[in-house]
């Protein structure tokens, strides 16, 4: 039997307590985050769960002005792509920055990884709860400027 070492629920619970978790591969040394069953580089399952530094660099971003259903109340908001110091990329909401004032100067800036709950009207994301509402484990990854 194969057991998933760091399922999404555990990853998100750790993130909610301020820890970014992932894997370090014993075969090739690469880091994998968010988790998957085997190494993102060499597909080895010989990986250990490690805590990441939780720091990244902004690579690109967009300001969402036309949102999906459930996000109408929070537009405009920023979604960014950032590269962790350990190597992998994450997609998250850049928070603490005014979307109407952000410029390309933000690219290359260092950020800290966190998380936040989705807006209250977001439905059908992750395991479908009662009335389609989100279950507590579902959070959005966030980036805050350091």
């Amino acid at each position: 039997m194969v057991t998933y070492k760091l399922p999404h629920k555990e990853f998100n619970e750790a993130l909610k307590s301020g820890k970014l978790m992932g894997f370090k591969c014993n075969s090739c040394g690469a880091y994998t985050c968010p988790p998957k069953i085997n190494c993102n580089e060499c597909a080895s399952m010989d990986m250990v769960v490690v805590e990441f530094k939780g720091r990244a660099e902004i690579k690109s971003y967009t300001i969402i002005r036309v949102s999906p259903e459930g996000f109408e109340g929070v537009v405009p908001y920023i979604v960014a792509l950032a590269q962790l110091e350990e190597g992998p990329n994450l997609v998250g909401n850049l928070v603490g920055v005014d979307p109407d004032k952000v410029t390309d100067e933000i690219i290359g800036k260092k950020v800290k990884i966190g998380c936040k709950p989705a807006p209250p009207n977001v439905k059908y994301c992750g395991p479908i709860g009662k009335d389609g509402k989100l279950t507590p484990e579902m959070v959005a990854i966030t980036f805050s400027l350091m």
Binding site: T62, P68, V74, L81, N89, N93, A140
Partner: protein, 392 residues
């Protein structure tokens, strides 16, 4: 492997429809069947692309209902293909595999979608379901957002100032609307200017409204069969020379999204199967869901060196009459993008281009002998490439 051909093709008018997904598909399918000079009972299997029927019409299990709607026999298997925006291309590719391998002789492939039934907020949300949900979807990332992120990555990587890149992206929209204006089946039959693109409402910065393809209702279908049968069915069978399909990881796992590795791999497979090179392609229908998407796609397909495709657009190399005409149908941008049907509509265009049927419409690529379709699903989770030719 047997030689495989396309016989008849069919397509509805794209845009807003009052017809159901199955009714639209029935129209496209019957056009393809009649055009192949066969009967519904000659079809041995149906491969149907459909993505959000469950949300659009509360309708699951569309494939068997579509099969019986058009009179396929009760013993005919029918399968639904879901690969987000690439669903119908997947259906065509699998039909090719089944016929090439000798299991079936005649397969109906295509797709249908009724997006405009949903309204923009729900449609945007359902499309967002094709991004990875546990680590990405919760950010409220939209598909315009994914390609907006790509635009900035591309601008930085190749040192093309974003304002310059945006101007060239606008030229993609202008070109595709120019072609679409001549296509009676297109959703938007209206030429636009660079100034109009650059002054439109912002959707996901830096993408503006006219950088984005629309939500669309529509269906398309094609008959895929053996060389031998196709020659009996139609005067001008079109060969499927090669196919390729890749599986891409979520956006956060893509090391360099400007290189779209699933597309590079899919195209390589298709070219190798056909024994041809990118320079041999005369005409291509390419997945221009967003203006930047067409630019990046034409590089991954090998038409232009990486980092040079936006300049090629500016020089007119992708216009009809240019070095490699891209999206003579108007593309997703102007023709419309009913995601379950798009790949089959691309095939419809290429088949008719190779048969030389667009002279009157004014969008015929003169002397086109080899054509390519390129369809992307999700953040490049699926890429499907199909090569067509007038000789086997």
């Amino acid at each position: 492997m047997r030689k495989v051909c396309v016989a008849g093709v069919g397509m509805t008018k794209f845009g807003k429809s009052e017809k159901s997904s199955i009714e639209m598909f029935a129209e496209a399918a019957m056009e393809a069947i009649i055009g192949s000079n066969i009967k519904p009972s000659d079809i041995q299997c149906l491969y149907l692309g459909n993505v959000f029927g469950d949300f659009e019409e509360g309708q699951a299990l569309m494939a068997p209902y579509a099969a019986r709607e058009i009179g396929l026999s009760v013993g005919t298997p029918s399968l639904r293909f879901e690969g987000a925006c690439a669903s119908a291309s997947m259906a065509i590719r699998d039909a090719f595999v089944a016929v090439a391998g000798g299991f079936y002789d005649v397969v109906l492939a295509g797709g249908t979608e009724r997006e405009l039934a949903m309204g923009t907020p729900l449609a945007t949300r359902t499309f967002n379901m094709a991004t990875e949900q546990y680590y990405e979807g919760m950010t409220g990332l939209t598909f315009p957002g994914v390609f907006a992120i790509l635009s900035r990555l591309y601008s930085k990587k190749y040192g093309i100032p974003l304002s310059k890149l945006k101007e060239r992206m606008a030229m993609v929209a202008v070109k595709n609307h120019k072609n679409g204006a001549k296509n009676p089946l297109a959703q938007f039959r209206k030429e636009i200017t660079v100034e109009e693109v650059l002054s439109g409402p912002m959707i996901a910065e830096p993408l503006q409204l006219l950088d984005c393809c629309p939500f669309t209702d529509g269906a398309a279908a094609i008959i895929i069969t053996t060389e031998e049968k196709a020659k009996k069915m139609v005067e001008k069978p079109v060969y499927i020379l090669g196919v390729g399909q890749g599986s891409g990881a979520p956006l956060y796992r893509q090391k360099d999204f400007t290189l779209i590795e699933s597309r590079v791999a899919a195209a390589k497979t298709a070219y190798a199967m056909a024994g041809i090179e990118p320079k041999d392609i005369d005409v291509a229908e390419v997945h221009d869901c967003f203006t930047i998407a067409e630019i990046v796609a034409t590089e991954c397909l090998g038409f232009f060196d990486f980092g040079t495709a936006s300049e090629a657009v500016e020089k007119g190399e992708t216009q009809i009459g240019g070095r490699i005409p891209i999206n003579p149908s108007g593309g997703l941008k102007s023709k419309g993008h009913p995601i379950g049907a798009t790949g089959a509509a691309q095939a419809y265009e290429i088949v008719k281009q190779l048969r030389g049927e667009f002279v009157e419409r004014g969008t015929q690529v003169e002397g086109a002998k080899i054509g390519l379709t390129d369809t992307l699903g999700g953040d490049s989770g699926v890429i499907c490439n199909i090569l067509f030719g007038i000789k086997g």
